[in-house]
């Protein structure tokens, strides 16, 4: 595949004008992620209401792959329950590592499948996964906190 397929228009659009960039005051879910191979970092903030993601923002520096992935991920997390979000992250991880194919007939996966070119560039898989892993870490910490409260 050509490298221009890796940098598809969907990815470049999200990179140039990423969605959901910002910070939240007192977020219930918060995590920082760091990609030691390139020095990119990301912070993810989410507000949970009635067990669902009510608002989600991210902030960070990074390449087109990591920024577009974070932009698309945050778009798709709105309204998901914690369990749905965890499952979605699990599914994404399987697709981006090439373990499973990206679904071709799903609206939810339509934009995300623009990232499938990354599978051919193993060193860049980390870039695409950074925001997803960071959110998962934030969710786990959120769950641990809630368990302690109960």
């Amino acid at each position: 595949m050509a490298v221009s397929d890796l940098y598809s228009e969907i990815i470049l659009e999200h990179y140039k004008e990423p969605h959901n960039v910002g910070e939240l005051d007192c977020p219930e879910v918060f995590a920082k992620g760091y990609n030691e191979s390139c020095g990119d970092d990301i912070k993810i903030y989410a507000q949970i209401k009635n067990g669902k993601v009510e608002e989600i923002k991210f902030k960070g520096k990074g390449c087109a792959i990591s920024q577009s992935s974070a932009s698309m991920m945050t778009d798709l997390m709105y309204g998901k329950t914690i369990d749905e979000a965890k499952e979605f992250i699990k599914q994404f991880t399987k697709k981006i590592t090439g373990e499973e194919d990206f679904p071709s007939d799903s609206d939810e996966w339509f934009e995300l499948s623009a990232l499938k070119g990354v599978i051919k560039f193993p060193v860049r898989v980390k870039c695409a996964s950074l925001s997803w892993h960071t959110l998962l870490q934030g969710i786990k910490e959120f769950e641990n906190k809630n368990e302690l409260k109960q």
Binding site: V3, E9, L12, E13, G39, C63, R124
Partner: protein, 408 residues
């Protein structure tokens, strides 16, 4: 004689195709490629001479020892060290700095003392000093940078004072390409009787560095950045300093008499070479030095200079490029960014055209912070690079820009 066609033939890796394109290797500041002469010398050693060095009273061990010690002699001559005992083989420049920081630093630094570095140090010349000054309650001070990435020596007479106990600085910056006026700094430091360590990782491979005329007290460099194998590096130190410092690592090879409760250490240079050394690596480094001497460091320096000015000229013409570091003289590298495009994306796209450049913080995170960027793209050159490599880089960068023009 600088016959570039012949030189390129000596480097088998340059015949490789990367994604169907001939390799354009522009990352010699990270590590250089190896000529056949070095590859074959290492192979020959393992095929014909392999044995452990020192103390073996048999042919192979004597051969291995004499090849290993011959490499030390070649290294001493290469940097004009006054004696071969001043050459300590290490794993790399990093280990050399750690040796000095731990051995000299632990024996000499006290609370309130200062160690002077610069703001452009590689992590290898920063972390060892952070560790030892923290342990001893000493302080780190830094020579700041001018806006064009040179050392700002305005306050050097305040920075070097009676509290200063050691100065450690880079000769040529791996991140900005700045060539530092180390002679002046050594002179000022010596007027206070302060020893100076030079990180010569980016200078020794590219120009004649004479430790006696520089009068530096310690100098470190890595073999793999000068056509030699990885895992072998050099610490040069003035005999009296090295002789008076305690050992860094303990073990075999570095001792005379060993009792259960105490030991007596060998003379220089072996006092600092605990354990079986990288014999093949030292031999490979010796052959790399022969190779560089054969071509002539003056010729290499001239070639690098022409390439870097050509690169500055060609790259400056690209729209949206920001080049970092001094605009006049610089070591053989150019660090830059393309506006709105992350260095890792630049690197991935260039790789499609067989072009190997480095993207990242280049082990100089404080410089990235100073430049206010997350990372940079760095193209670095050596004797096997050609102007055509730089043209290919420029064409590749145009492609990067075309790809990123889409989607808006």
């Amino acid at each position: 004689m600088f016959d570039q066609i012949k030189i390129r033939e000596d480097f088998p890796i340059l015949k490789r195709l990367i994604k169907n394109n001939p390799l354009v290797y522009l990352d010699s500041a990270a590590t250089t490629q190896k000529p056949l002469q070095v590859i074959e010398a290492i192979e020959k050693y393992y095929r014909h001479n392999n044995a452990n060095v020192h103390r073996g009273a048999y042919t192979l061990s004597e051969e291995a020892t004499s090849l290993y010690e011959e490499a030390r002699l070649k290294t001493a001559r290469f940097i004009n060290a006054e004696m071969t005992e001043s050459i300590i083989f290490t794993r790399n420049a990093t280990e050399g700095i750690n040796l000095v920081a731990n051995s000299w630093g632990r024996a000499n630094l006290k609370e309130g003392d200062e160690v002077l570095l610069t703001q452009m140090e590689h992590h290898s010349n920063l972390i060892p000093w952070q560790l030892i000054t923290k342990e001893k309650g000493a302080k780190l001070k830094f020579i700041p940078l001018t806006p064009d990435g040179k050392l700002d020596l305005t306050n050097i007479h305040k920075l070097i004072n009676e509290k200063t106990k050691f100065v450690s600085l880079v000769h040529i910056s791996n991140s900005l390409g700045t060539i530092n006026p180390v002679e002046d700094i050594i002179q000022i430091a010596h007027s206070f009787k302060i020893p100076v360590l030079l990180d010569a990782s980016q200078s020794v491979p590219h120009r004649r560095v004479d430790v006696q005329s520089l009068d530096c007290d310690f100098m470190v460099f890595s073999g793999h950045k000068m056509l030699g194998p990885t895992g072998i590096g050099v610490l040069y130190g003035k005999y009296n300093l090295l002789d008076n410092m305690p050992p860094f690592m303990g073990g075999g090879e570095m001792i005379n008499e060993v009792q259960l409760e105490w030991s007596d250490f060998r003379n220089l240079p072996w006092k600092y070479e605990a354990g079986t050394p990288h014999i093949a690596g030292a031999i490979g480094l010796g052959v790399a030095i022969d190779y560089l001497n054969n071509i002539g460091l003056e010729n290499i320096q001239q070639h690098d200079k022409e390439l870097v000015s050509y690169a500055m000229e060609v790259l400056s013409n690209l729209d949206g490029i920001e080049i970092y570091g001094p605009k006049d003289t610089r070591g053989s590298l150019v660090a830059f960014n393309l506006k709105g495009i992350h260095p890792h994306d630049v690197s991935t796209i260039l790789d499609e055209y067989g072009i190997a450049i480095r993207a990242g913080h280049h082990c100089t995170q404080p410089i990235m912070r100073w430049l206010d960027v997350a990372a940079t793209v760095r193209a670095s050159f050596y004797l096997y690079n050609t102007k055509s490599d730089i043209d290919k880089l420029a064409t590749g960068l145009q492609k990067v820009k075309e790809i990123f023009k889409r989607g808006s």
